[in-house]
């Protein structure tokens, strides 16, 4: 009797084999990790960010990206500041903010002075979160009292003494100056010079210092009728100052905007925002780029994965029928897909959008991707079915009485799995690219109140490319990483599933 040989090695299946090959491709493994990171970002960034897509703040627009880590390390990088070289009058304007409120617009109060023949110039890092300084606000009496209660509870000074209206600066009736709450100091009007020493058209304000070189305030002196009851008062306030000026609706007060923002979000709205801090900066509308990017990425991924899945399903079935049955069915079905594939995608989406209106643009986009997307999948599957349907083992199975459905599923389809998976993965970056292009061009507008798309972010940021390049940096970086890692990952998959194709693009 012959002994049956025992196999000691474990059998290796198709997927295990592919996985072994895939692991060996370092670039693809790294790419898949990056993809995981990007997907995690899109899922969690909007979830953990205190801001929402609909959040916006009129004062905090065009703020620079600020990373708390770099800020606490004291690095001059990603700290929400911008390097500036400014003439004397603007320098003092920013210096005065820190002197009054202790919130330094000039980072760390570090600056370098350059004396040129026509005046002094200062180089410093301007903190874009503090450069707003103080603003005048019109409040109702209720809000006014609320701020004061907040001040007493937290010990944070929000309200600052209001300046006396007849001392507020004005040059040639320029209302911008009068409405600027940051002129709290005594000044003189001089003809200014820009940072190159050239005379400015407009006159400027230079502070008048006292004998010790300190700013001298122009606060409104105490009248007793300002309704201020808070214990918080400005340091060293010997004659008392007025904190508000009554107007028609309530009072006009002078607040430090940063502190007011904290008060408003933590005390009034209670929306989880404690401090303005925008990791990726803010847009021209004062939206948080980080949250918008996360939300846009989420939308892109959602769309791309759904489209890819549906195309796989429809294209797979269509291609299988075409390839397996051949003949007239194949001929007719091929004509249909030929015609469909000749329609430019741009036209499909435009027509759909025109017909479906502005309300359901995501659906229109989805249908457009589907209408043109499944064809390539069908072609791939058809080819594989053509190749394998007449192999001997298939014929053997048929002779044994297997039905068409069984042959297709059990014997032919597994041969197509590799190409199907590769095709689906590679279609994801293509879909995301098209989606972002279309929303960039404004052909589709996915930007509703609570959702936005990367293309919209890019389109909004593009006009500020030269002035605020950081606005475009993060969305562009995100999409580059995404495309690159998906392409590498897809190539790795293709090589793993089909080693004979390696090196052939």
């Amino acid at each position: 009797m012959q002994e049956i040989p025992v196999f000691t090695a474990r059998p290796i299946g198709y997927f295990k084999d592919a996985w072994r090959r895939f692991k060996r491709n370092k670039a693809s493994v790294v790419a898949s990790l990056i993809i995981g990171f990007l997907i995690a970002f899109s899922l969690f960034a909007p979830m953990f960010s205190p801001y929402t897509v609909s959040y916006q703040d009129d004062y905090y627009k065009f703020r620079y990206p600020r990373n708390k880590l770099f800020l606490s390390l004291g690095l001059d990088f990603w700290d929400g500041c911008a390097e500036k070289t400014l003439p004397e009058h603007t320098f003092y304007y920013y210096l005065s903010m820190g002197k009054e409120t202790g919130r330094y617009a000039i980072k760390g109060e570090k600056y370098e002075k350059f004396d040129k023949e026509k005046g002094s110039y200062y180089q410093f890092r301007l903190d874009s979160y503090e450069e707003i300084g103080c603003v005048f606000l019109s409040l109702t009496n209720g809000e006014y009292e609320r701020i004061q209660r907040y001040q007493d509870e937290t010990g944070r000074q929000v309200l600052y003494p209001t300046t006396s209206p007849n001392l507020r600066p004005t040059i040639d009736g320029n209302p911008k100056l009068t409405l600027d709450a940051n002129y709290w100091y005594q000044y003189k009007v001089v003809s200014g010079r820009d940072e190159n020493g050239l005379p400015l058209k407009q006159k400027v304000l230079i502070p008048v210092f006292d004998d010790d070189g300190n700013f001298q305030n122009i606060y409104a002196s105490y009248s007793g009728g300002d309704g201020y009851f808070s214990r918080m008062r400005v340091e060293g306030e010997t004659p008392l100052y007025d904190y508000s000026i009554p107007n028609q609706t309530g009072v006009e007060v002078r607040v430090n905007y940063h502190e007011y923002y904290r008060f408003y979000h933590s005390y009034v709205l209670k929306d989880g925002i404690d401090e303005p801090n925008f990791l990726f900066g803010t847009t021209q509308a004062g939206k948080d780029v980080f949250t918008c990017l996360g939300s846009g990425a989420r939308l892109s991924f959602f769309l791309a994965f759904t489209v890819s899945f549906v195309n796989l399903l429809v294209g797979g079935i269509y291609g299988a029928i075409e390839g397996y049955y051949g003949g007239n069915a194949d001929l007719i079905m091929e004509r249909v897909s030929d015609i469909l594939s000749a329609v430019p995608f741009m036209i499909v989406i435009t027509l759909l959008k025109m017909h479906m209106g502005d309300g359901s643009q995501l659906l229109a986009l989805f249908i457009a991707f589907f209408l043109t997307g499944w064809i390539s999948m069908a072609k791939r599957v058809r080819m594989q079915f053509y190749r394998f349907k007449n192999r001997e083992y298939v014929l053997a199975s048929r002779t044994l009485g297997a039905k068409d459905g069984r042959i297709m599923l059990k014997h032919v389809f597994p041969n197509a799995i590799g190409t199907i998976i590769t095709g689906s993965v590679l279609s994801i970056p293509a879909t995301i690219f098209s989606e972002s292009s279309l929303s960039y061009l404004g052909i589709v507008n996915l930007n509703t109140g609570s959702v936005t798309s990367i293309g919209t972010l890019l389109a909004n940021a593009q006009p500020y490319l030269t002035t605020y390049p950081y606005m475009i940096l993060f969305p562009a970086l995100f999409i580059c990483l995404l495309m690159l890692s998906f392409n590498l990952f897809g190539n790795g998959l293709r090589d793993a599933f089909n080693p004979s194709l390696k090196g052939i693009e």
Partner: protein
């Protein structure tokens, strides 16, 4: 071969016809919005629309539309875009074509030689550091979306270094130095992706040919390496590359909407975008026909040129 070509063209025309008919009916089913121009009576504007037959039943309009195109080459007139109201659609289109075509022709002229040379170089240095460098760069530029390249070009070349203007100059003098210079940023942005594509394609083809048996023979005969590559390998490697270049030359006509928008090129892409936003349907129909036509034409030319360039492929004889 001849029969194959005829069949291919006939099928393409059938596709074109079906697509455009569907497109026409879909467009005509939309409500026709008419904005009276400044100082124009809304009733007069409406009367003009009626006189053009735009309120007739769709089938009647369809027959009239085809008849006008076939016999008078009349694609309709602009209705909603202020600057083109009452102008013939075809005339406006022809006027907008040069910048689009020029930018794309320049970028192809720029990209093809560089891309192919890079591809040849990295194929010859296969698995050397030069090859890895080129392959990595190719991967990056194939993946990075064209608009990101455009932003980079605009920011670095145009803004930081100030070498080139930020956007394309207006005006119709296309062959002056100033206009040419203002086209360059768009040309560069378009080129990077194409260079990478050509380099990758050439490298793949050439490496395959370089390992084939007949090249071993050529080497065994005593040919020098350059003789081998230029006379034997390159010729065969070029057979699939040349049709793709031809196809690209045709496809460039349709241009890139996004590049045209970023660099405000006064071309066809911009016309298409404004036609969509202002719902000017005659323009939309005409431009759709154009894009569809270009796409089909490129496909046909590729298939046919394969047959001409590579005698091994006898498509006609099945």
């Amino acid at each position: 071969m001849f029969r194959y070509i005829v069949k291919r063209i006939a099928l393409a025309f059938l596709s074109f016809f079906i697509i455009m008919t569907t497109c026409f009916f879909l467009v005509k089913m939309l409500p026709l919005v008419v904005n009276a121009t400044l100082g124009q009576d809304a009733e007069i504007a409406e009367a003009q629309i009626v006189a053009r037959g735009y309120r007739d039943p769709i089938l009647v309009q369809y027959v009239a539309y085809i008849r006008r195109i076939l016999f008078e080459w009349d694609w309709g007139v602009g209705v909603n875009m202020p600057e083109y109201v009452g102008q013939g659609v075809w005339g406006v289109f022809i006027e907008k074509l040069p910048p689009t075509v020029l930018i794309n022709v320049y970028s192809t002229l720029f990209a093809v030689p560089i891309g192919i040379l890079l591809g040849i170089y990295s194929a010859l240095k296969k698995n050397g550091w030069q090859d890895h460098l080129v392959s990595t760069l190719v991967m990056v530029f194939v993946s990075v979306p064209s608009y990101v390249t455009a932003f980079l070009v605009q920011y670095i070349l145009c803004f930081k270094l100030g070498w080139l203007p930020l956007t394309m100059g207006a005006g119709t003098e296309y062959f002056t130095w100033t206009t040419f210079r203002s086209m360059l940023p768009a040309v560069f942005s378009l080129s990077f992706g194409s260079i990478a594509g050509y380099a990758r394609f050439t490298r793949a083809e050439l490496t395959e040919v370089l390992t084939s048996d007949y090249l071993e023979l050529a080497k065994a005969k005593g040919l020098t390496k350059s003789q081998c590559v230029v006379r034997h390998a390159l010729r065969n490697a070029m057979t699939p590359i040349i049709p793709s270049i031809i196809a690209e030359f045709i496809a460039v006509m349709s241009g890139s909407l996004i590049i045209e928008k970023i660099f405000s090129v006064p071309g066809v892409g911009r016309l298409y975008l404004t036609a969509i936003t202002s719902l000017d349907y005659d323009f939309f129909m005409m431009l759709s026909a154009f894009y569809t036509f270009i796409g089909l034409l490129a496909g046909i030319v590729v298939d046919i040129s394969y047959g001409f360039i590579d005698p091994r492929i006898r498509v006609g004889k099945r």
